[in-house]
């Protein structure tokens, strides 16, 4: 067993359970009345005990069996984070089926691809919105199958189970089922089959597929990575060896369960360590709900951390001068102490002052962000800018980088407390081997390396070699401290004229550190240096515009303002200062729209798809390379009544070659959008 090396771990509830359903049974037996999860509903945190959780899983598992789901089948779940998502997952696993999580924002080809490839018969969908998508897919399918998607396997969708019935009362489609009806059906089905489910759970093997996670591919057809119970539980053991999690810890689950990061903490760590999960009431109340809970553990992609920083910047800028001064003072002390602490040194002479600074300046900010109790915070999925990293350490949040792919259950390398470097991703977790091959590619091997891509042996063979090494496709190296430094995707690594290898992601992250820049995509200019397509952050830039008494209507209008272009010029110039001359951004333009996952420009986890950008905005990139003054782009605007109008938008290309920063401007601190 892969978990044998975990015996040294301090596990609060020792158990030999090696599958999720058996872990659940163990928790329901040992801690029946403890809270497994709570969801804010109707303004109140409604708890669900381990015993009720297990009972509902039992009913739903019987229900799935009654609907014809068999061992080895795959059930899809399409919805936001709710207890039903996990009940469906555990129920499927209890009868030997697996679950594939689909991002709730998925549409069209992506959705069809996942459902057909995994031969899904039963989908658990959240609400009317998701059900409508599936009904439409089913209706359009005969047409689709003969045309564009004829290469896909058939759609086998038989039943759609929904758990939020609002608005679905009038629907007459006979394949729609209410979640609670399926539970009831299962309950009856189960009464005549005593012991059946226990046998099923006992028959489950640790190497069975537990979860299928979609990989954020560069096309609309993601690969489906099969993760077994062993994979996920080995990862949970290895992670908690470094950063122990105990049953008293709280975790707020708001990132999609389709993402490996959420499966890894909420499900794998959750079930193996008995963590209490909390689900926010609504996406609009997420921040206040998180503050109410005060999670002990948190794992989020850079996007979330960046937006927290933006929020601090906006709110500090709206605060009075006294608050700004006090925070500025406290931040400087926090920053100095953090710098010592990440190297494993004590605060020294600053200890007392830091205590005061923490009380008056730093802790209140942590509290506002819901991070007051957070002992371990992780970022992963994409690189996080070193400056953002530094900000969180300065305010006293123990933020650490996690590196890993879906194919290795999300975690392979992580920072240790007191040994953090902002430009690295840390050292491998227990049970993980690392090696860099001759191409500079990072290879990983551990018990968490996935079973393979679903129905795609050739892709699996490309990803994992015969000795079990996972080829990550990332370029990187190990530094003198043994920390792994990830450069970028191997294919995106560029070499300058003087031969240094660098990553466009590095420059882009530097640009994105500006509170006003939301996304950046850089390209090498034919005449040396870099060019960039930027999108502005409407929240921070909008609030800046208001502060400057600048009126604007839409995003497009805001991005076209000369003042905004000057603001961004200054920000780009600032980020250029730390870069070698050969990779500085010399020309850029502000795009007329934000990148949108529905347009395939960005993945559901908000990673920019360079190839799509490259194709769609080829004309812009060429113009940037040539150094034109302006470039027109034609976009189609669809109105509510169905009419479409082609509109040409004129975008200005801003050249920074001879840029001089306006005189007499001070430096902008990290935590503020102002000087």
């Amino acid at each position: 067993m892969a978990r044998s090396d975990s015996s040294a771990t301090a596990v609060s509830a020792p158990t030999t359970a090696d599958t999720f359903p058996r872990l659940l049974a163990h928790l329901a037996a040992t801690r029946p009345d403890a809270t497994a999860m709570q969801e804010k509903r109707y303004g109140i945190w409604a708890p669900m005990s381990w015993s009720l959780y297990a009972a509902r899983v039992r009913d739903f598992a019987h229900g799935l069996a009654a609907l014809g789901v068999q061992r080895g089948d795959i059930v899809a779940v399409l919805g936001d984070n709710r207890p039903e998502w996990l009940i469906a997952e555990l129920a499927a696993q209890s009868i030997g089926a697996a679950v594939v999580g689909i991002y709730p924002t998925s549409i069209g080809e992506e959705l069809l691809h996942i459902l057909t490839l995994a031969r899904v018969k039963v989908v658990i969908a959240e609400d009317q919105e998701q059900v409508d998508k599936l009904i439409r897919l089913r209706e359009d399918y005969p047409k689709l199958a003969t045309t564009a998607y004829s290469d896909m396997p058939p759609l086998l969708l038989e039943t759609v189970v929904f758990y939020d019935p609002h608005g679905l009362e009038q629907y007459t489609e006979d394949y729609l089922r209410d979640f609670t009806d399926v539970e009831r059906l299962g309950h009856e089905w189960g009464t005549t089959r005593a012991g059946w489910l226990d046998d099923q759970i006992a028959d489950g093997k640790a190497d069975d597929i537990a979860v299928i996670c979609t990989t954020s591919g560069t096309t609309s057809r993601p690969k489906l990575a099969e993760l077994s119970h062993t994979n996920l539980l080995a990862m949970a053991d290895h992670l908690t060896t470094i950063d122990p999690i105990d049953p008293k810890d709280r975790y707020v689950s708001f990132l999609p369960f389709a993402w490996i990061g959420e499966q890894m903490l909420a499900v794998a760590c959750g079930l193996s360590r008995g963590l209490t999960l909390s689900f926010p009431e609504d996406s609009s109340t997420q921040k206040t709900d998180m503050r109410e809970i005060g999670p002990d553990v948190m794992f989020s992609p850079p996007r979330i951390w960046e937006s927290m920083l933006s929020e601090v910047q906006v709110r500090i800028d709206e605060a009075g001068w006294l608050k700004r001064k006090v925070f500025g003072w406290g931040y400087d002390i926090g920053d100095k102490v953090a710098e010592r602490k990440i190297k494993g040194q004590s605060a020294g002479g600053l200890a007392l002052l830091h205590l005061v600074a923490d009380q008056v300046a730093l802790r209140p900010v942590r509290d506002q962000l819901g991070l007051a109790r957070t002992g371990h915070a992780y970022t992963g999925g994409a690189p996080l800018g070193p400056d953002v990293f530094r900000f969180f350490h300065a305010i006293g949040v123990n933020l650490k980088q996690i590196y890993g792919q879906t194919e290795i259950c999300g975690i392979a390398v992580v920072h240790r407390d007191d040994d953090i470097a902002f430009n690295t991703v840390g050292t491998p977790i227990a049970g993980t081997e690392i090696k860099i091959n001759d191409d500079g590619e990072i290879l990983l091997r551990s018990a968490s390396v996935f079973r393979g891509y679903h129905r795609n042996p050739s892709a699996t063979a490309d990803a994992v070699d015969r000795e079990g090494w996972l080829h990550t496709g990332d370029a990187g190296y190990l530094d003198e401290q043994g920390h792994l430094v990830v450069i970028d995707r191997l294919k995106d690594v560029l070499t300058t004229t003087d031969g240094t290898r660098f990553s466009s992601a590095f420059i882009e992250n530097k640009l994105k550190f500006s509170p006003y820049i939301e996304e950046a995509v850089t390209f090498a200019a034919p005449d040396g240096g870099m060019t960039a397509i930027l999108t502005i952050d409407p929240m921070t830039t909008g609030s800046w515009a208001e502060h400057e008494r600048l009126s604007y209507t839409t995003y497009t209008d805001l991005a076209a303002k000369t003042e905004v272009q000057e603001l961004i010029s200054e920000e780009v110039n600032r980020s250029n200062e730390d870069l070698p001359a050969s990779i500085r951004v010399k020309r850029f333009l502000l795009l007329h729209k934000q990148f949108d996952p529905d347009d395939d420009e960005i993945t559901r986890t908000r990673k920019v798809r360079r190839n799509v950008i490259g194709e769609r905005y080829g004309a812009l990139i060429d113009a940037l390379g040539r150094g034109d003054d302006r470039i027109g782009i034609t976009t189609t605007v669809a109105y509510q009544d169905g009419t479409k109008v082609d509109r040409t938008i004129d975008l200005k290309i801003i050249d920074l070659t001879h840029y001089r920063e306006p005189e007499g401007r001070g430096r902008r601190p990290v935590w503020s959008g102002r000087r």
Binding site: Y42, L52, Q640
Partner: protein, 292 residues
Amino acid sequence: MLSPPVADDREAAVRTRAYQHALNSSTLPAGSPALEIRDIELRFGGVVALQDVSFTVTQGHIHSVIGPNGAGKSSLLNCVSGLYHPQRGSVTLHTGTQGVAHQLTSLPPHKIARLGVARSFQNIELFSGLTVLENLMLGRHTHMKHSIAASLLWFGPARAQEIAHRGLVEEVIDLLSLQAFRHKPVGSLAYGIQKRVELGRALAVQPSLLLLDEPMAGMNSEEKEDMARYVLDVHELAGVTVILIEHDMAVVMDISDRVSVLDFGRLIADGTPDEVKANPAVVEAYLGAEDH
């Protein structure tokens, strides 16, 4: 409806996400007449606001009343809610309880409210210093029955009652997606949100008939779209019969089951949106004369 659920129901209530309270208090079958307006005439001194207006609102419909400014739309709504008493004609409400028909023309507003006729106002009429939740709880006051002393001490039945009513109000909050604003004072909210709270307050009454006076007035197109969706949700999810006064023709034609058109106090057309759109009198009076 607000009696404590039995154990089995409670278990089911934990599992299901379906609403536990019916927001529609009318027990009429859909399709039967809910409100009959017959030959009403309303005068202010020598000014005739409404003359010989007759139409029937059918249970389960969104029934829109449109017309140019000053056509008498709000006056008509005021005749239904009892703020105005027409000099002639009758307004009859059917709520389905024991087949009783209520004559609204002779009743004061608070008695009409007790019959389940709830309304929202063209100009927002909320308590701006109170929170969204408190404003919505106020919508429940016709249903609360306990003494001042019990309320002040907030013990026993008074407490139990308030908790039960809060349950219903929370479902209204959920239906109208007001969760993020629950504890915010109404005065601090954006106009579009205040309008939604106004709709919520009317809905918290558990109406048998909902009167909406220009719920989308002064909104931008995005807010209008949102509001139209909420009106549709209220109608489809809660099954409430709605009388809607609105200026925006596109919205009216999109969401109404039936449309009545007023011009200078007279009813000039009454029918489905398509019929009304094709009616030459409407085109001339409303659509043709003004550039809409």
